[in-house]
């Protein structure tokens, strides 16, 4: 039974369908997220000056270098090209205080890559958001350094709005909500200007890089909780906008919580994840010891992500036995 061999049979590829693919790749996802964070980082540099710029660059460079070093040591393929290490470094830099010294930044970036990402097997395998893992390590190791916030432009040591609120709840009257949203307040390098974060986040949602479920649910969770508290006692509790614009809520909702690896895969799971993360943020803010509960809330929810993945849609054609 002879088959006439084709002239070019050796070059023809045989594989399973589908034979064409969409254009979305990991590189494009990560690249778009880096791009979306450019306004946020730029505003941070504008407000906090040279040290902010150095922190951003140093964090990204350290993250990329540490990842490459580990992969060379363990003889793995270099994954610097997928841009994830750079994104991890950038996100970490954006949640550091603008006064962060170089060694704090480098330790943080190395921790994010080693402890947050590579020990679990790299991109796709880690259970906790790597920049947040590093943030917790830094926060526990050097609490003073991590709380050294300065006022934009002047460089004067001040408390962040949320820290002030923790000291004395009545202090929220002294903040203008527009100032908080536009960035005229103390905070992490990339946490002060809500406008820049929202622009980047909307870009990602419109481009389809992140999905709307988690950001919307997260903000809804925070907003509803704040609104109920406000209804209970308007003298004691700040308006909804104060909680939404203050601290890491916007950055958390739009960039940290929707991080694909550590968030649920099903739409229902995403919504529940976001809502609970938002509510937990508010609980931690109201009754926790840390002024801003956003990052802790996201980490706790990361741990619960495998549970949310059980919230699958009903598979087609699965009928209840009559």
């Amino acid at each position: 039974m002879s088959r006439t061999p084709a002239v070019d049979a050796t070059t023809l590829i045989v594989s399973m369908s589908p034979h064409v693919r969409g254009s979305l790749t990991i590189e494009r996802m990560m690249g778009s997220m880096l791009l979306a964070l450019v306004p946020t980082a730029a505003v941070g540099v504008y407000f906090f000056g040279l040290n902010a710029l150095l922190t951003v660059l140093l964090a990204m460079a350290t993250a990329a270098a540490v990842e490459a070093a580990i992969e060379m040591l363990t003889k793995q393929k270099l994954t610097i090209g997928d841009l994830h290490a750079l994104l991890t470094g950038l996100l970490l830099a954006l949640i550091l205080p603008p006064t962060a010294p170089w060694w704090l930044t480098m330790t943080g970036a190395a921790t994010a890559i080693i402890l947050g990402k590579m020990v679990f097997g790299g991109l796709g395998a880690y259970p906790f958001n790597p920049p947040l893992v590093a943030w917790v390590v830094l926060k526990l190791s050097w609490p003073e350094r991590m709380n050294a916030f300065v006022a934009p432009s002047t460089g004067e040591r001040v408390l962040t709005p949320l820290m002030a609120f923790k000291e004395d709840p009545a202090l929220f009257y002294s903040y203008d909500l527009w100032d908080l949203f536009l960035g005229n307040a103390a905070g992490g390098i990339g946490m002060v200007c809500g406008l820049a974060i929202v622009i980047g986040g909307l870009y990602l949602i419109i481009r389809g890089i992140i999905r709307w479920h988690i950001p919307v649910a997260f903000l809804l969770g925070v907003g509803l909780f704040a609104w109920i508290m406000r209804m209970i006692n308007a003298d004691l509790y700040p308006p909804v906008g104060f909680h939404l614009a203050g601290g890491g809520v916007l950055l958390g909702a739009l960039f940290l919580a929707p991080e694909p690896v550590t968030s649920p895969v099903t739409p229902t799971g995403m919504v529940v994840f976001g809502l609970l993360a938002g509510i937990l943020t508010m609980i931690l803010r109201m009754w926790g010891s840390d002024p801003d509960g956003t990052f802790y809330a996201i980490l706790v929810m990361n741990a619960a992500t495998p549970l949310f993945n059980y919230l699958t849609p009903r598979a087609y054609g699965r009928w209840e036995r009559a």
Binding site: M1, I13, H19, Y316
Partner: protein, 448 residues
């Protein structure tokens, strides 16, 4: 009518204008004995025998196979081994000769035939069901012949009376265009075929699903208007949406009914599903008395350099068709029988195009994605968002890649219709359909 369907929307330039390309028919055809899922037909001719166009050369062995007729008048040159369009190992009857139109016979008008006579003609026509799992259409519509095999593996098959004939003027994939092409062509056969399908299936109403991105089909509208009892309706759907043209999602989109997967069939939810091309084929069989021996294909792909519909004798090989179309414009990287989303890649250009071939695509190097360069699942959930049967493909793929097939099956692996949407959107470029097919095969082999 019409229910939102999860899936993907292809970019505009991936769907093509469908025009007929005239070609010279080849002098040799190879007719595979199996052109679908099921069992091969039994050859009724020997090597060296003379055959005429339309003559039966292989008879259906069981109700899971279809009869095959010669498209050429000539001699049987050989019976050799080859691949079917789906890549199954099979024997093929090779016939050398020329295409001669059979002389028209005096026939009774199709409208005067009884359902039993129509069914006989339907069986003789040897049509296949649409989609990536082709099976004898008569068995799909009327059910298995032997009583007792009505029960599915789980024993819970819903036995419903067929109440709806669903005629699909959509194509299995947006890149294929035969049904949409035929829906725009004025023929007597289409109306005859639809009427015959309605009589055979016993359906009370006819729904015709058309693509709203195309101008309204005049012939189909005329058919709907001619129905005085107003039991024929046209449903307009977005044909650029994929996988709306595949049987299971189409029934869900038009009627909201879910066939009980796995192993679910349109019949289980009271639907007889046929395509416009099957209706035309049946209509022509009834009008001329000769079973269909040609088929329409969509051709395309960067290496072919042209796009359109061709009519070929059944069993034309890939190389003969490519030659008739003027050869490749650049070196093909992949030869695909079927569409780019559900088709089968072949390495052998001498493979014949059978009844189950919906198209021939010669993709160039730029159009394909490299195989094997895939990474870990990053849990982004895009596959969940597009899966038309509501699975969690990413999770399933991890089970399958780690040989944990039973767990994958418990998560609904067998409900997968292999449409490839999850593959298409995966940013890690994971070969999900490949893993699922592998796992299904392993499960099947473990069972037997």
């Amino acid at each position: 009518m019409g229910i939102a369907l999860r899936g993907i929307t292809l970019p505009k330039n991936d769907t093509v204008p469908f025009e007929l390309i005239e070609i010279t028919p080849p002098g040799t055809v190879a007719l595979p004995l199996i052109q679908h899922l099921g069992e091969p037909a039994t050859p009724t001719v020997k090597v060296g025998e003379t055959v005429t166009s339309g003559q039966l050369i292989a008879a259906a062995a069981t109700d899971r196979s279809v009869p095959i007729h010669s498209p050429l008048t000539g001699t049987v040159a050989a019976i050799t081994a080859t691949f079917s369009s789906r890549g199954q190992d099979t024997e093929a009857v090779v016939i050398e000769g020329e295409q001669i139109k059979p002389r028209s016979k005096k026939l009774p008008a199709p409208s005067t035939l009884s359902p039993a006579e129509l069914t006989e003609a339907f069986r003789e026509a040897g049509l296949l069901s649409p989609g990536p799992f082709p099976a004898p259409l008569i068995r799909e519509i009327l059910g298995p012949e032997q009583s007792g095999s009505q029960l599915s593996l789980s024993g819970t098959r819903l036995v419903k009376r067929t109440d709806t004939l669903l005629v699909s003027a959509l194509d299995p994939e947006p890149c294929l265009g035969v049904n949409r092409y035929l829906a725009g062509i004025e023929t007597e056969a289409l109306a005859v075929g639809i009427a015959a399908f309605k009589a055979i299936s016993g359906a009370e109403r006819v729904l015709i699903a058309t693509d709203k991105n195309f101008p309204q089909s005049r012939p189909l509208r005329a058919i709907a208007a001619a129905d005085e009892e107003e039991t024929t309706k046209i449903v307009r759907l977005n044909g650029r949406r994929y996988p709306i043209g595949l049987p299971i999602p189409l029934i869900k989109a038009v009627l909201g009914r879910e066939a009980p997967l796995p192993y679910g069939r349109p019949r289980d939810v009271g639907v007889a599903l046929c395509t416009v091309s099957a209706a035309v084929s049946l209509g022509e069989t009834l009008l001329t008395g000769a079973p269909p021996v040609t088929t329409l294909l969509t051709v395309g792909g960067g290496a072919l350099g042209r796009t359109g519909i061709v009519e070929i004798p059944l069993g034309t090989t890939i190389e003969d068709l490519v030659q008739a179309l003027g050869g490749f414009t650049q070196e093909p990287a992949k030869l695909i029988i079927g569409g780019p989303l559900t088709g089968f890649a072949h390495y052998d250009p001498s493979v014949p195009l059978g009844k189950d071939a919906g198209g021939l695509f010669a993709l160039s190097k730029e159009e394909i994605t490299p195989v094997g360069a895939y990474r870990q699942c990053i849990n982004c959930g895009r596959c969940v968002a597009v899966c038309p049967v509501n699975l969690v493909p990413g999770m399933l793929s991890m089970y399958c890649a780690k040989d944990r097939f039973k767990e994958a099956a418990a998560q609904g692996l067998l409900s997968c219709i292999e449409c490839g949407c999850c593959d298409y959107v995966c940013p890690s470029r994971r070969p999900l359909v490949h893993l699922f097919r592998h796992a299904k095969r392993q499960l099947m082999e473990a069972e037997s």
